[in-house]
Assembly symmetry: C2
Homo-oligomer: 144 residues x 2
């Protein structure tokens, strides 16, 4: 058995995304692709692969955090659709994609994975976006 | 506002999948593609597009049903990964895919959507599968 203290971020997730906030259960990260508002929630528990690997208590907390993120993304980006997915075929560490989709985005209406190569943010874009979003994303747990 | 009684299955979902069971919140359907064990949960409420459109009570119930389905799929199919996704870019009615993935399946490691055309079950396959699975899928709520 893993202890929760053993949590370590998969190096591929670390490379492809930027730290944004730590919430009670999950680390919230921004995927490094300026083509979509694309975040991942990563439960900070060691050894998780599937949503059903979450304890019942953590599953409830995950749902609250996914809901908070989704509500904020809907307000912030006003997308046509949110896409929420736990896939993990390549990086098995449990991480749940939250993506704001638009009819004029690069992949619409297909899922975004594998559609076009990721287009990383510039350093300046990244700082501006994260600072801007930080102002509107309520600090946990004020939004619920 | 929609009343829950107004629930109607989107005709495209109806065409691409087969009724399996009604659970307290969701209709469980089998997608008509023999290439993957691929189910969808469709909350039986009218007017839903996003997971965050579920009431708080329904969100808790959805999570229980997704968990029951996932645990059963893991036991039944012993997949390498489960893929769970709420996309809805083409069919906006809220439906959540649950797919058992294997390293030798047609799309691995890509997501399955748009990878290869769906390959419908024959009538005989369908009857055999549904009968067989019906035996092992616990009737709600015995599994929790």
């Amino acid at each position: 058995m893993h202890s929760p203290c053993d949590f370590q971020l998969d190096p591929r997730l670390e490379q492809d995304s930027h730290f944004f906030q730590n919430w009670p259960l999950c680390q919230l990260r921004l995927m490094d692709d300026q083509q979509y508002p694309w975040f991942v929630l990563i439960p900070r528990r060691a050894g998780l692969r599937e949503l059903v690997d979450l304890s019942e208590q953590d599953a409830v907390q995950y749902q609250l955090e996914s809901r908070q993120l989704s509500l904020w993304m809907r307000q912030q980006f006003q997308p046509v659709k949110l896409n929420i997915a736990a896939l993990g075929n390549i990086v098995p560490q449990l991480h749940i994609h939250h993506i704001a989709r638009f009819t004029d985005d690069k992949a619409w209406p297909a899922p975004i994975w594998g559609c076009v190569p990721m287009l990383p943010y510039t350093e300046q874009q990244l700082q501006q976006k994260l600072f801007h979003w930080q102002q509107s994303l309520p600090v946990w747990p004020e939004a619920l």
